[in-house]
Amino acid sequence: MNFLTFLVENINYLGGIALFLIGLHIVVTHSNLIKRIMGINIMGTGVFLFFVAIGYVKDGIPPIIIGGEPIYINPVPSVLILTGIVVSVSITVYSLALTIRIYQTFGTIDQKEISKLIQEEEYHD
């Protein structure tokens, strides 16, 4: 029972860590380059969720001043993560562009086949 309450109370942090690990697993184990880029994105989402979750205050409302004395959530992490999202988009764009180049030169986006092609080339030299 204790474990369950811990799980429910910290679900946003645990979710962030889970996404981070899922993403890491995809990046490390998959050989398809597009899937690896997706893995990086999932990892990033995990970190962003974790960061935003820090700013959450129970029963808090978004920090828009409406009069009275409501509890606001902490807006700073959300603002920081906005920057983080932009950065992660640019990384995605760069790596996708690189994938296009790789496809044009090798005709495949599978890491294993690419390494095989490179090895064959070195063998012919």
Binding site: V47, T83, Y94
Partner: protein
């Protein structure tokens, strides 16, 4: 006025990067000269800032005049301005060389783009050193990693794409790990400003030890991947061997060092020595560094490609720097900082001279170096000086840094570390000395024939000679630099 100078430096780099595409219609020499003027201006202003900082204390700059806990703060002190000076000087040498080395694998069309990336790279490195905010550091780190990846993949060759892709993936894992560390620190302290985090960490570390241990491990792994600390170094040899020589020099001599400096900032400015020792972090770093020092050299021995060999040698040398930092003593830091300088100079020298050799002889296999000393005396001579420096022969700067590191280790009376330093130096002998011997003593048909000497363009020769002079000068007169390093260390620990 002087408060604005660091920001003006960043803007100058950015403006230069933006004006290169606008100058496309002009002759390329105009762009090159303009870029050189920008670098000179930044060097002068860096020296000016350094003198100001030493006499009047650090420059604090608040963006938009927000409060310290809300906005971004730049803190320019002896530590950051000393290393920005070093970066500009090295960058200028590489810049002069690269303008003489116009065809090395980069197409004419891409040539302007190379310099755009170069200036954005400089901007982000200055930003990383100046900023006093953990999250802002993350943003600059991302700019730096995108530009370094691009500068590696700029050559339109097959293997650059795959090695750049691997570099992007590992770099991104590193950045996200670093960001996770920032998140955990923010969770424990509620700040991202380094000064404020430092103040509150000394109070809260006993309440949240798990948070802070996980945070520092994430940061060590993240920055370790980027700085090529041993088990995370797998991207480095590939990236080096396929990139243009000037890119390899920038990457190995400057970019890797900047990540180490970020790690130093996190260790000393954010955590502080007391907390680190209580959490037992130095031991982990020490083990990583020692394994790297041995294994990097062992891998380097097996390489046939000269640039791959230099890449693995970097892995070993990064180990020395991390070892010096992980001692957490004044002497250890001094040795580490000095080695950052001397390794920067020596690795630039090695990559640039290897670049000159690859440029003319179209070979990068170590076996083809026989008799090269008689064909390219300047390039091979510099290669020998820098190689001897790597081994740690007296009169070179490498000797001074190894001597200091040895003394720092002796101060703690840890004989194992001393043995590792000596073994690692001996391993360096195994892979640098045969190249030097075969270049100057083998293949005697080239002996003393002046007409076999290749003509290298002046733009490439001058930087090589400057580097050689600097390496020996630093080895013979280390005191002036040591004094500057003392200021950097005191400001780091203040």
């Amino acid at each position: 006025m002087i408060n604005q100078l660091p920001i003006l430096q960043l803007l100058l780099f950015l403006g230069m990067a933006l004006s290169i595409p606008l100058l496309r219609k002009r002759r390329f020499n105009t762009t090159l000269r303009l870029g050189f003027i920008v670098l000179c201006l930044v060097l002068i202003s860096s020296i000016f800032i350094y003198i100001h900082v030493i006499s009047e204390g650090p420059i604090l700059y608040y963006f938009g005049n927000h409060a310290q806990r809300l906005g971004i703060e730049f803190k320019v002190d002896a530590f950051s301005s000393f290393f920005t000076m070093f970066i500009v000087i090295l960058a200028m040498i590489i810049y002069i060389y690269s303008s003489g080395d116009q065809t090395e694998g980069i197409e004419e069309k891409e040539y302007g783009r190379y310099y755009i990336l170069f200036f954005i790279l400089m901007m982000s490195m200055f930003g990383i050193l100046y900023t006093n905010d953990l999250f802002n550091t993350y943003v600059f780190i991302e700019i730096l990693s995108i530009t370094t990846c691009a500068i590696i993949s700029i050559k339109r060759k097959k293997d650059t794409y795959t090695s750049a892709f691997r570099y992007v993936m590992l770099n991104e894992i590193g950045s996200l790990s670093y960001l996770f560390g920032v998140a955990l620190i923010y969770m424990a302290t509620g700040y991202t400003n380094m000064t404020l985090v430092y103040e509150s960490i000394s109070q809260v570390w006993q309440t949240f030890p798990v948070n802070l241990i996980i945070a520092i491990s994430f940061m060590i792994v993240g920055l370790g991947i980027k700085a090529a600390v041993f088990p995370f170094h797998i991207w480095l040899p590939d990236a080096h061997s396929s990139a243009p020589s000037t890119s390899s020099a920038i990457l190995s001599a400057i970019v890797v060092k900047v990540y180490i400096l970020v790690l130093t900032k996190v260790l000393f400015r954010v955590y502080g020595i007391d907390v680190l020792e209580a959490l037992n972090i130095p031991v982990i770093l020490m083990v990583l560094a020692s394994i790297g020092m041995i294994m990097g050299s062992v891998f380097a021995i097996a390489q046939k490609d000269v640039k791959r060999m230099l890449g693995y040698s970097s892995v070993a040398q990064v180990g020395y720097i991390i070892l010096g930092i992980s001692l957490l003593t004044h002497d250890g830091l001094r040795a580490a900082f000095f080695h950052i300088l001397s390794h920067g100079l020596m690795k630039t020298a090695l990559f640039l001279s290897a670049g000159a050799i690859i440029f003319y002889k179209k070979t990068r296999r170590i076996n083809d170096f026989d008799g090269l000393g008689y064909i390219m005396p300047v390039a091979m001579g510099l290669f020998s000086i820098a190689g001897l420096g790597m081994i740690g022969i007296p009169l070179t700067s490498g000797f001074i840094s190894k001597l200091n590191l040895g003394l720092a280790v002796l101060e703690l009376e840890s004989w194992i570390l001393l043995a590792i330093i000596i073994v690692s130096s001996l391993l360096n002998v195994i892979y640098y000395l045969p190249i030097i011997i075969s270049a100057f003593l083998k293949n005697e048909k080239y002996h003393y024939r002046l007409e076999t000497i290749e003509k290298t363009p002046k733009g490439m020769l001058i930087p090589l000679i400057i580097l050689g002079v600097l390496i020996i000068g630093l080895g013979v007169f280390p005191e002036p630099i040591m004094n500057l390093i003392e200021y950097a260390i005191t400001s780091l620990q203040a």
